[in-house]
């Protein structure tokens, strides 16, 4: 396995917000191409490239753009979702800091394609330096005629506003993000209507993840055919994997999709487990993904293979847990985080997350019973089955999968009581 630098090739090669460094390495070629092609052709190219969202849900980008482009009248918006709040996920930051012009170029092409004059980048409130950089970047972009009216001498007008998120996990969820941008409570909303129909301020809105948008200039600059040569059937291109947990070397690695297995990735890039013990479990798609263990770790690094193995690629945040730690301990750590992050809008998630946290604390503290484990399963299943948004549907997954994969850990925690 080796890294392939498609999106990240300029990272570290120039000093943002220096534009010259970006342009010198092929920057803005895609934007110029796009302006010459026209919005419809841009959307067609993105569709042909088979780009899917990199934020977690994996929705196809081209069709999403087409929905918003289809609305011909009135204000439309594009939002770059740079909240990146998912546990074990820090790949967007690499692009935001290392090659922000690439992301901006993606934003501009997206705005051009869908006809959005107003765009936002909603950046994680804890990325202080990133936000500072982007504030400077916007000033530079205005100076260079890349934001404002008549961009690059065309009739394109796009403005970008940098928004510091309020530091809530839930604002990574697109509707909560939109609510937050509207100065409302950061809480999810009911779908439908989808943001593409009624998004920001009730207008059609595209919400794209940072990495998704960074793919766009690459696709246009390199050409669809070249792009599609990478990856596997149905999943072209590369992906940025964040690697963390009990590994020797954590970091962000850009890999061709499907170029190796999860186990190989951890071994080759992470340098094996931190304590040298065997891997107990891995979450391949961020902190809300199901655990994989044993033979499942031999799955290829594609969305389909990971799904077949019993988890999800999510944000491609790979978190490794080595032997020696109880699964109860692991889920306690995770739920401690999610236990405060429900927006509170829907009953099962709002109450369920707190009850699950209480029960896990109880089990971890040696006070648990069989009934407690049953309650964990019931609450978890109910939340997954009926919650509105990804938060409620996903936070119980690690708990449920830990109960399935490591029942002995939970029984051991309970037995302490009877003993």
């Amino acid at each position: 396995m080796k890294e392939i630098k498609l999106l990240t090739r300029r990272v570290g090669t120039y000093e943002p917000p220096d534009l010259k460094g970006y342009e010198a390495q092929g920057g803005l070629v895609a934007l110029k191409k796009a302006l010459a092609m026209g919005p419809e052709s841009v959307i067609d190219e993105i569709k042909r490239a088979g780009l899917v969202g990199r934020g977690g849900a994996g929705f196809p980008t081209g069709p999403k753009w087409a929905m918003v482009a289809g609305e011909k009248q009135g204000q439309k918006y594009l939002i770059c979702n740079a909240e990146e709040g998912e546990v074990g996920t820090f790949k967007d930051k690499v692009l935001l800091d290392g090659d922000p012009w690439l992301v901006l170029e993606g934003i501009l092409i997206g705005a051009f394609a869908v006809g959005a004059e107003k765009t936002y980048i909603y950046i994680n409130g804890e990325y202080d330096q990133t936000i500072e950089l982007w504030d400077r970047l916007v000033v530079e972009a205005r100076k260079a005629g890349l934001l404002g009216d008549d961009i690059l001498g065309s009739k394109l007008s796009v403005d970008l506003q940098v928004v510091k998120s309020k530091g809530l996990y839930i604002t990574g969820e697109e509707l909560a993000l939109i609510s937050s941008l509207e100065m409302r409570r950061a809480a999810s909303r009911l779908k439908p209507p989808y943001p593409t129909e009624k998004g920001l301020f009730g207008r059609p809105t595209v919400v794209n993840n940072v990495e998704t948008l960074a793919n766009v200039p690459v696709i246009l600059a390199e050409g669809v055919e070249a792009y599609r040569r990478l990856g596997v059937e149905g999943e072209p291109g590369t992906r940025l994997f964040s690697l963390s947990g009990d590994v020797k070397k954590s970091g962000v690695y850009e890999l061709e999709i499907g170029s190796g297995t999860l186990a190989e990735f951890i071994e080759e890039f992470g340098g094996g487990t931190a304590g040298g013990r065997p891997i107990k479990a891995v979450q391949p798609g961020g902190g809300t993904s199901r655990f994989l263990a044993g033979d499942s770790l031999k799955c290829k690094l594609t969305a389909r293979a990971i799904l077949q193995a019993g988890s999800g690629i999510g944000t491609a945040g790979v978190i490794v847990y080595e032997e020696g730690k109880s699964a109860v301990d692991i889920v306690k750590g995770l739920i401690e985080f999610y236990g405060f992050e429900s927006c509170g809008r829907c009953a099962p998630c709002r109450i369920g997350v707190v009850r699950i946290k209480e029960i896990i604390d109880k089990v971890f503290g040696g006070e648990g019973t069989d009934e407690d484990l049953e309650q964990l399963r019931q609450i978890g299943k109910a939340c997954v089955a009926v919650s509105t948004c990804g938060m409620g549907q996903a936070f119980p997954l690690p708990v449920l999968s830990a109960l399935e994969l490591f029942p002995q850990d939970f029984e051991a925690a309970i037995e302490k009581v009877s003993a």
Binding site: R185, C343, A347, R350, I351, G352, V354, A382, A385, V386
Partner: protein, 904 residues
């Protein structure tokens, strides 16, 4: 609308496209459990209880936000769904302080019902920790209690406040674990933008919000529920009075979603101002004034006394020396009996009521233009209009529930709202265009709008040629009435007048809504005729959601007019001067009748000065506070030889009376009211009257009988049956037919379904008639000594002379006393600060009140609400009359305002 066919739990169902699964299921009697759904707000899907399984779709889908589709197969419950519902309920119960044992909502609580249905165990996931007791936004509210320990955060109250009432007072505060309903910055509810509609209390599914005054006074399941019609404004909201059968008192008021016309919505008065019913200030026994003091009397004595005095005065001075004021607060049956008593027993047409002071000009103007003086359309059509033109109506304050329909039209259906009012009323927030005409200059504004419509040729030529007459007479008057000319008169910039004209004329349906800002002028009839001209010019009459819609102020002012409590017409607007009609009524009432029309309200007061009226019988009215130029009115009340006041309280007027007769209020009697959309609705007895109080019609019948004209009915329904025989527009009415939803007149026979909107196909009078109207100045203009224009009106929290509303602690908390609104710059010039005591002076009087300094009124103009006996606005108002309708000019007079010398 397209119908779709689908399957719910094995049953074939059809429903209109767009119907949600939840609603469709409800339609076939399947109650899909939910704790956050209400048909009046957008689905939010926060409780997640309403999930169903749809064949071919993965997982579960919430039914409150999913429309049905052709061929869809829905399973509303199976073992898996039931188990999930139970778990969700148990989660909710783990966060809800279960206090059914001491909760008012016990037995009427959705959460409790579902917990029972699914046998949810409230302790399954542990009992909630009690929050430390600390004040919340409602702690100091007289109206509402909020218990965060019981709150299930379904969001219904917040959404109702935002989406339906649009008060935007409630919101959520805090993050997980500490989320609560609150106001902005947690300010006290009564100081927030809350309008106290009580919608939050009504919509709460879990007993977390309660009527504060009702706590501990009876659980809903133990209370008796009586459906009746509200006794405040003319909207005619259907209310449920919940009474304690043991004490016979009203405990609280609710309303049912789906009822017509209010769909379960209420305003502060209907919800929180029923304290007057059980007030200890109610009259309980007849009183006769002896040596200047009221003494209690028996009914026999009192009736005898009244009958004797009236007979004596009639024989000495003739029947024309006696006059009666009927009441827009009383039922149709009371009004019918009262006018029959004055006409058949006394022998005069001197009968009038307070419609004279509110919509006499509407009745006169619209009758001339269209042939019928009532709201042309129905309330629920307003929300579907393309343009809503509100002029001289502070709808959200005076007719709050109609205000909701206006807001719904704008916010949900995209109606373009035009607001013309001297004050920046709340609806201006929702307006596409708000214009402020100087008080009394409405004709100039309307003429200029028509000038624009004609010169830009955006009028409806076909409608004019087919449906109207005298259009040619209109043109010359409008020719020179340019927006520039109107700008000089109204102070509205000409361009805005043009814009207003275009918005109105270009809408496919445009509905004019007006009220006393139009009618209470010496040019009131002219104003109404102008609006009729405007509507006909653009073809906006005779179809749904268009028309000219006067909002009637009192609960039954429509009915009192309909039933002939007017000096010129018998019931059903049948002229007293028409000898054929006179003969018809003479035979129906078996008595000779006068063919001469009688005196109007203000004329009666003036006739007393001239010794022409010797006796005045007042039923349920309070002219000593409601009439213009009170000093003059009160002198007349003092002067008249014999004054009877029949009322529920010892009003300002009753204090001048020789005899006071205690009557029953709306909650204590059966009968009907007719609301502003011509809908005759039931009033039902919910509580026993205090002391010896009697129904108005019963008292009148006894007096008539004593005077030698026997009148007797077995009940209010019998009176309605008699009304139907002599009143063609009420010909099809009966208590039986109107039992459930009422019926809109004209309804000529028992098979007629009633009339939603008037003048379809043809006007009542045949062709609609244009009346050229010249602009005339108001009677009194500002000058050096009286430099301000004073206008008067209502406010949300009070009603009329406050006899009813001011008994409510909830209302007293938010509206303790009167005030005068003055522009910030004017106040600065006079060194008046907000809340300071000021003196308002006109040629007729002087009152002391508090200054309310605001930017919502233009410079040079003042506004006073007229409800308050301390600082009564009507001490100041002008009693100059409209020559046609005899309505006084409450809305414009010249005034001065002074800072009061502060005590050192």
């Amino acid at each position: 609308m397209k119908e779709v066919c689908f399957n719910i739990d094995g049953t074939k169902v059809t429903a209109p496209e767009g119907t949600t699964i939840l609603e469709a299921a409800k339609g076939v009697g399947i109650d899909i459990p939910n704790l956050c759904y209400d048909s009046r707000v957008e689905p939010a899907g926060t409780c997640r209880m309403c999930v169903v399984q749809i064949e071919g779709r993965p997982g579960l889908t919430i039914s409150c936000n999913t429309p049905v589709a052709e061929g869809m197969e829905v399973c509303t419950e199976n073992a898996e769904i039931a188990a999930i519902r139970r778990t969700v309920l148990e989660l909710i119960l783990s966060d809800h302080r279960v206090a059914c044992t001491s909760c008012d909502k016990d037995g009427a609580c959705r959460l409790q019902d579902y917990a029972y249905r699914y046998q949810a165990d409230e302790g399954r996931f542990g009992l909630p920790e009690r929050r430390p007791v600390k004040p919340n936004y409602a702690t100091n509210s007289e109206g509402i209690l909020y218990d965060p320990d019981k709150c299930i955060l379904c969001g219904l109250c917040v959404r109702y406040c935002e989406e339906v009432q649009k008060a935007e007072a409630l919101t959520f505060a805090g993050r997980l674990g500490q989320i609560e309903v609150s106001t902005a910055f947690g300010m006290d509810l009564h100081e927030s933008t809350c309008v106290l509609c009580g919608g939050c209390v009504e919509i709460c599914p879990a007993g977390s919000m309660l009527d504060r005054a009702a706590i501990g006074k009876g659980r809903e399941k133990d209370l008796t529920r009586t459906r009746t019609t509200c006794a405040y404004c003319g909207v005619g909201c259907q209310l449920d009075l919940l009474t304690d059968p043991k004490t016979g008192r009203i405990v609280k008021v609710t309303s049912e979603v789906g009822c017509i016309p209010n769909n379960g919505n209420m305003c502060v008065k209907g919800k929180f101002a029923m304290d007057f019913v059980g007030s200890d200030k109610r009259l309980t026994t007849p009183l006769i004034k002896r040596n200047g003091k009221f003494e209690e009397a028996t009914w026999e004595e009192a009736i005898e006394f009244v009958a004797e005095r009236l007979k004596q005065i009639r024989s000495e001075f003739g029947a024309e020396s006696i006059a009666g004021l009927s009441s827009a607060k009383c039922t149709n049956e009371d009004n019918y009996v009262f006018q029959k008593f004055i006409r058949a027993c006394i022998g005069t047409n001197n009968v009038d009521h307070c419609a004279r002071l509110c919509h006499a000009s509407t009745v006169a103007g619209l009758a001339r233009a269209f042939g019928s003086g009532a709201m042309t359309n129905s309330i629920d059509e307003i929300k579907d209009a393309g343009c809503i033109f509100i002029i001289g109506s502070n709808t959200t304050e005076a007719h709050p529930v109609i205000g909701l329909y206006v807001k719904e039209g704008v916010m949900k259906n995209g109606a373009e709202l035009l607001v013309a009012d001297p004050r920046r009323i709340d609806l201006a927030r929702f307006a596409k265009l708000y214009i402020a005409q100087k008080p009394g200059t409405d004709v100039a504004l309307i003429n200029a709008m028509m000038n624009v419509i004609i010169s830009e040729e955006i009028y409806d030529k076909d409608f004019i040629s087919e449906r109207t007459e005298d259009f040619e007479k209109l043109k010359p008057i409008l020719k020179d009435f340019t927006p520039e000319k109107a700008e000089a008169i109204t102070t509205i910039p000409a361009e805005k007048i043009r814009a207003a004209a275009r918005i109105y004329a270009k809408a496919d349906t445009a509905s004019i809504i007006y009220s006393m800002g139009i009618t209470q002028h010496t040019t009131g009839t002219d104003n109404v005729l102008s609006l009729a001209n405007l509507a006909m010019l653009t073809g906006n009459v005779g179809k749904a959601s268009a028309g000219v819609n006067p909002l009637r102020g009192q609960n039954n002012v429509q009915g009192a007019c309909d039933l002939g409590a007017l000096p010129n017409v018998y019931p059903g607007y049948q002229s007293v001067e028409d000898s054929q009609l006179q003969t018809k009524f003479e035979s129906a009432w078996e008595q000779k009748l006068s063919g001469r029309k009688g005196l109007t309200v203000v004329e009666m007061m003036h006739a007393i000065e001239e010794d022409k009226i010797k006796a005045l019988y007042i039923m349920g009215e309070n002219p000593a506070l409601s009439d213009p130029n009170l000093n003059r009115t009160r002198k007349s009340l003092e002067k008249v030889d014999f004054l009877v006041s029949q009322d529920i309280f010892l009003s300002e007027t009753a204090e001048y009376a020789d005899v006071v007769l205690p009557s029953v209020c709306f909650a204590e009697k059966d009968g009907t009211f007719t609301n502003t959309e011509r809908r005759v609705q039931r009033v039902r007895k919910a509580v026993t009257p205090p002391g010896q109080a009697q129904s108005d019609w019963e008292i009148i019948c006894e007096v008539a009988t004593k005077m030698g004209y026997p009148m007797a009915y077995g009940g209010a329904d019998e009176i309605m049956d008699e009304i139907a025989t002599v009143t063609p527009i009420y010909g099809g009415m009966s208590f039986e037919r109107i039992d459930k939803v009422g019926l809109q007149w004209p309804c000529p026979d028992k098979e007629h379904p009633g009339t939603r909107f008037l003048h379809e196909g043809t006007f009542k009078r045949g062709k609609g008639k244009f009346h050229p109207v010249e602009y005339k100045n108001p009677d009194e203009l500002p000058d050096e000594n009286y430099p301000f224009v004073l206008t008067t009106g209502r406010q949300l929290y009070q009603f009329h002379t406050g006899t009813m509303t001011r008994k409510s602690p909830v209302i007293n908390q938010v509206s303790p006393t009167g005030y005068v609104e003055i522009h910030t710059d004017d106040a600065a010039g006079l060194e008046i600060s907000n809340g300071e005591k000021v003196e308002v002076i006109t040629r007729r009087g002087k009152v002391t009140t508090l200054a309310r300094v605001t930017g919502n009124i233009e410079k040079g103009w003042l506004f006073m609400p007229f409800h308050f006996r301390e600082g009564p606005a009507n001490m100041l108002t002008n009693d100059a009359l409209d020559p046609t309708a005899k309505i006084p000019e409450f809305k414009v007079c010249a005034a001065a305002v002074n800072k009061m010398k502060q005590p050192v």
